[in-house]
Symmetry: D2
Subunit: 335 residues, 4 copies
């Protein structure tokens, strides 16, 4: 299978390396508008072609699949042309800048009978797959909350705000582990950049059931925190992604409300249980290797993809609503 | 000076011990509606009187000052009667259940010419005083954000939600270190208790200037986190209160936006600076000793109190607005 | 039972509090040569007698038991007189300054038919009891090593070196969890104090079996480390005593040597297994409450003590040998 | 400059990458006795020649310099032949298996007028260079101790024990930061491997001055610790190499002995000072890039090397003495 990579910035080299390591794939061409980035690609992989124009990849009938690793605002145009040129498409997250664009691409992929996949890398990590299996086992009880802090001194993006940059990780995980979708969102935040794009944002997702999700995203923290708490009625999972080896901890610690309140409304009987902690061993396979495997195998054999184009759409739908809430002073926006 | 302590639950023993250690104070009586709590007080301090009725403390003309360490819903009634009986009053945080109550107590204290103080303990810690002095020095630059996570497996309260329980710490610190007051709030949250009181809540405080504050409060985390990031344009302070000895870290790490965006709106020039970190030595004096000192000295000499009754009122004002926002699906509530 | 406490320095108040909290004990008298320390005791417990002369405690026939909480060099003389006066004796660790002294006290206790106990507090912690039960369960496999780091900015002692001060904790734990005794020791160290007493010391304990123990003790580290690794052939225990709540971690991680070496002596086949980690919940009862319980119950009912006088003697025996090794440039000293 | 790399195991690829990234160097050939390792090299760098016989590199007159990245027992033979063939030589650490071998190579390098360098990588890290500059500034006061813990689940070596594998890092750092050399060593340890090579070892280095160094090395810990404390009379440095970004901490915390002891020998006046902590920003350049720069520039221009062949010899001298002490039950071995 011949692959083209369009966009060779921060993430492109990882995509290139992972496809190159596969026996069944050849990366034929890397495209980027910056000459110096093409030189970098060429230095590592001298046999690869490069071009300043992504159209060169689309017009090459040898190319089977295209990876779009550009800024978000270019995703739609390139993916649309690629699908129309009969290529399978792997899109960086987030899928597109709007729900309408994502829906149009999905329709087009269906019409052209091509694979359209979004690179929600986290779904392929050992940590998230372990979390998914713990939740599916039922031992954690009914889910009560998801609380994520994803902050560091980040690379300020010029075309998207911090939610579009960081929240897709959490939103794709949420969609992956939960059986229900959020019914509404509230978002607050602030911009210190002068371009109106918030660099600190707080997003609450409300659900039909008694579950809540909250995301704290920032590009302006000198401390890097990548921490998610997933609370169940029986156990709580702590997922700390900056821990080198003990990323997932399962706490057998919870509470039970024994009575709502007495008649005087001034007492509440609660049973607290503090128990053991369990740190499961995680598979350390690189997540991107799972992405390339799913992409290639879904093209070859129709294998089901973990985070498919519909999952990509759901993420964009929430981000669009969050942006609307941000512009309306945190007002609840129905989904 | 003769002191009465009304309420001898979780915090009462600390108040008792701190007043007992002062040469210039005698705790004459401890009141609580639970016989077994009075026994506990008596065992440690055999010479202290106890009573099941707090009125015994108010009617004793030898008592100069009363500490109200009861659940919040009783603060107003007891404090009002105490002031009316000519006693100075130290109230546990939060001051009262409503803004109206706090305002009435302030008026009454003025009329009776008595000291009315709220126990905002954190203002007296070495950590917060160091943070205040760093900010006042100007080295941190202009303040940009305050981001607090205050979660653990907490004691569920029956008369107040998690914000009324935990947020007063952050709100009193915010009032202490900032020159401006918030103009509005948004709050979201969820109740898993069956009594409608949220046990997880997220509160955003909006300001006139380009500053934002956010609080993440929960009684349902098996991990105890007490962490505040205070971001300035030049430096960022990390205050981690569960660290035994390195609670305050000052990061000389920031960014500068060199240009908003170029004409194409797709680039942003940012200068990142990652520098040294500094961990100042902190005064380890117990915070409550500062509270009792300020309370006693303000009675004796009129010494200015760090967090006075007006500060207590501000905290209640924000909590009342937050509760309104919670009930209105996160809607922005003006202050 | 009437108790006398001789010595009221750093540890004395804890002993006093723990005996005072027992229904079946009354602390009648506290003795110390420093007037100001007696005042401190009197302030907290006004009903207790105090004296500058410990002989007052020994000559009082109402006193059943004496706790010796003085510097080590006074242990022998006071304990000897106390036993001779018909009192039961609880000695602070280490038991005595020499093996000869410990042996004489043990003989005397036998002759007088009195309880002689050493306060090896750590044996009564939830952490050490959990470790003991893990090892006894056999799941850890055969023990291979014990590696302790016990360093901080400590209180320099004037009569004993850092090993006599800090190593008793590790040595009593070792005696408690191991079925065998060391056959020899090597110790190295250095003194920066001008009095020849080492303030940094390294102690290796050699055993008949394929087990080794090593202690790193220092009074001169600004960082406080209290960490013990106990390696088994199947699992490894990490005991980190400065962790507030996750003190004991059990790693299901080991290696197996599949073949010694091949004929060329240049290869070694090793199977590495990295598995889950388990953090057991620990009993949080104060360790000293276990000490006082064992002391009192052994007097009353003959209950077996966890760390008895023979355990105390073993610790002194190792310390004496370690000191000899220190003075002989780390030479192996047989036990 | 044309480079040959002999040995392509764990470390070889890093050497290859670093020389390849230099404009002034070409890696012409990689040699290894294992066909599959040569394939790995070829896959990443298709233009490089490979050979199963290192003699092919030595006999190629185009080759200017040889990097020996083999097991230690082969260092001497290969390096000797390489020098004799007129090549400059970069040796992996430790330099050789014996002092005699190291001395012979040094003589040979002198005679042949070739550069002979040892890859003591740590000297080129931002952390160690910062530590060196702090010590050289004099602010840390007179050095008192060096205490290193270097343990993890390591790759058991078949030809050398754990000290020869791990201690060279600490020993080269010690030689780098200290003005004096150790006068003797004591080493203890244990072998669980069946081949007599210790996998846990403790090494004390004794000095003429009032300084001590101690190394705790193990291949059998499930926890990875890379921590060095360097104590001075004024400040203490903590170097924690597993910390991702805060590797070096400088503690302004010390003690001063005010009087040795009083006449009764039972008191010691000590002034403790607990101060601020400072975490300097470190240069993040890859250490190996410094190695290749020094190697190449010393060949080209005679630039002085940080850790030269004499430094390599000193490390071997200590290791040889340590091994002798290990075999003599920890006996002090003079250097």
């Amino acid at each position: 299978m011949n692959i083209a990579i369009i966009g060779y910035g921060y993430w492109g080299p990882n995509i290139l390396r992972n496809f190159s390591e596969r026996e069944d794939c050849t990366v034929k061409i890397v495209c980027d508008t910056r000459e110096e980035r093409l030189k970098v690609a060429k230095k590592s992989y001298p046999s690869i072609n490069t071009s300043l124009k992504y159209q060169d990849a689309l017009s090459d009938s040898d190319i089977d699949a295209v990876c779009v690793v550009t800024p978000v605002y270019m995703h739609f145009e390139i993916a649309k042309k690629a699908l129309a040129s009969g290529k399978h498409v792997l899109l960086e997250k987030p899928m597109t800048s709007t729900v309408a664009q994502a829906e149009e691409l999905i329709k087009l992929a269906g019409r052209e009978n091509k694979i359209l996949m979004v690179d929600h890398t986290f779904l392929y990590t050992g940590a998230v797959r372990e979390i998914k299996s713990i939740i599916d086992s039922g031992n954690i009880g009914s889910l009560q909350y998801f609380d994520s802090t994803r902050i560091n001194l980040g690379l300020f993006q010029a075309d998207i705000n911090v939610l579009w940059d960081l929240a897709p990780h959490d939103l794709s995980i949420l969609n992956f582990i939960l059986k229900e979708k959020p019914v509404s969102v509230n978002a607050t935040g602030i911009s210190h950049t002068g371009n109106g794009l918030v660099n600190i944002a707080y997003l609450t997702l409300n659900y039909q059931s008694n579950f809540i999700a909250h995301l704290n995203c920032s590009w302006t923290s000198p401390v890097k925190i990548r921490q998610i708490l997933i609370g169940g009625s029986e156990k709580v999972i702590l997922y700390n992604d900056v821990e080198p080896s003990e990323k997932v901890k399962v706490y057998d610690t919870t509470y039970k409300i024994k009575s709502g309140t007495d008649e005087s409304k001034h007492s509440l009987l609660v049973d607290y249980r503090v128990g053991d902690i369990y740190i499961p061993k995680l598979d350390k396979t690189e997540a991107l290797a799972g992405i390339t495997e799913d992409f290639v195998m879904s093209i070859k054999t129709g294998k089901k993809i973990l985070g498919d184009m519909y999952a990509g759409l759901e993420v964009v739908r929430i981000l669009e609503a969050a942006e609307k809430s941000l512009k309306n002073n945190g007002k609840e926006i129905k989904l």
